[in-house]
Symmetry: none
Subunit: 275 residues, 2 copies
DNA sequence: GGAGCGCTGTATCGTATGTTACGTATTTTG
DNA sequence: CAAAATACGTAACATACGATACAGCGCTCC
């Protein structure tokens, strides 16, 4: 079974003429980067002419050069998705077998945060803190609990935090309360819910700032969102995992809380005295 | 110091107009693959026009699109050279707020699973699967969303799954429906809620099997529970983290689903046909 | 040693791609 | 509310890129 282009080359390099073989060796030497550049650059690096490169990729079975490049990119993408970073997750001491699902979940978190800067989180936290408006939270069929979780915490440190529950018609009626100063936090992962998209669009039209938690394929709501957090959700299971998004939500909660504390919000102190 | 394009984007995304921000978000979401494709494909993926993509890369400081792509490729090449992940999260500028929390969360998960054997999880999954009784789920003030999350998933693959919501008096009345064949899943971490403990005790007296998700200090409910899952919750934040428990819940959901599928439960097939 | 075949490079062509100019829509500001 | 500024998309444009035709060269085999 041949699954990568590198293997394909190794398989056929024996039957190639000299020029194409040089092309093959050049590609293998700095695999796969040189293959992503132009034919001219590739040919220059290999010390052959452009047509030789094209004949080379044709021999590998590709119809044309772009098709060859796409194939290389797909390979790269797959490689990046499942990072060969297993070494970072120490092979669980104590002999306890750690399930592939835990591995995948930890990888998802690392990947998610690799694309998520402190700056971005700080921006979102700032938006949640620094305003005189209200905060609304809502989620999809399986992600609504995440909205609830976040709402439960934020409501402690801030006034005017509302979780939108129940029927679509119920929250649609709440639109009337929303305006430019308000923030709407939406959780939406595959399969994306039309009802949420409709709601998001209407809220957007009213000038509401939307913060979207979604998966790496981006919910259609991303088009209306001011801030988008894309978390990895793939795990070896029948279900998608929201764990990475959950962790991001917790961090956001923490960031907001910290910022409010720093501002010396007397609400926090009052809260303590109420206990 | 800004070393990667991803950081560059994170740094400037705040100052970008809406269209370019969508471009930025799309790139980050599947970083960096979409940036290696053509402008047309990039623009289509982001849902904006080609010129917007070009203005986006121009704002990042590149003279033209090919230069931007070369830069991405160089970055990729460097990353592939040193398989060890270098820049998981650059030492966060301005007080390192995120990374320690992420590290703590990941540590929590590893610790949690170190004390949690596959056997234990399998036993709990089996108990949730192999019975003719009902499943009830409930949580505390901040953990109830986890109960909801689990209930939302289990209810899809099984009949008779109920989340207990609302007032204490409401669920107390549901006790009448509970018996020896039933399972009650409770989430309770510090500060433990008296109301939950009272409820758990009464359920226990009726012979209900209790599965408890709690923290490492164990909720008082542990004395009534048949199965106890103790997750680590400590993070450098004002709040405790439920992330580890969340992951355990997801794994349990996955295990139950897998087992039901293996049993060829026709419910799953019927479910598909109902879509 | 000569003829045939195959490989390779040069030069040209067509086209897909990035680029730019301009008009419209949207937002911001006084 | 009006006016200016900014942002965005449509459409025309230029170029750089991949593709192809053809000629030269070397190699092999008779």
């Amino acid at each position: 079974m041949i699954s990568s282009i590198a293997e394909l080359i190794a398989d056929r390099i024996g039957t190639m003429p000299a020029g194409e073989r040089r092309a093959a060796q050049t590609l293998i030497a700095s695999y796969p980067m040189i293959g992503l550049k132009t034919v001219a650059e590739f040919s220059a690096a290999a010390g052959v002419s452009s047509p030789t490169i094209l004949r080379f990729v044709a021999r590998l079975g590709f119809q044309n050069y772009p098709e060859f490049q796409s194939s290389l990119q797909d390979e790269l993408a797959a490689q990046l998705q499942s990072p060969a970073i297993r070494t970072l997750n120490p092979p669980s001491p104590g002999g306890g077998t750690v399930s592939p699902m835990l591995e995948a979940t930890l990888d998802n978190m690392r990947e998610t945060f690799r694309h998520l800067s402190d700056r971005q989180l700080a921006d979102i936290a700032a938006r949640l803190v620094d305003r005189r408006g209200k905060t609304f939270l809502i989620g999809g069929r399986f992600t609504d609990p995440l909205a609830r979780y976040m709402a439960a915490h934020l409501a402690v440190v801030q006034p005017d935090v509302f979780h939108l529950a129940g029927q679509e018609s119920t929250w649609r009626d709440r639109l009337i309360d929303m305006g430019k100063r308000d923030v709407l936090v939406i959780f939406d992962i595959r399969r994306y819910q039309d009802s949420l998209a409709r709601f998001a669009e209407k809220a957007h039209q009213r000038g509401v700032q939307i913060v979207l938690f979604t998966d790496q394929w981006l919910s259609p709501i991303a088009r209306f969102a001011r801030h988008v957090i894309a978390g990895r959700t793939a795990v070896p299971s029948a279900w998608d995992s929201s764990a990475a998004l959950f962790v991001v939500a917790e961090m956001l909660i923490g960031a907001v809380t910290r910022q409010l504390e720093a501002e010396g919000a007397k609400r926090i102190r009052e809260m303590e005295s109420l206990r």
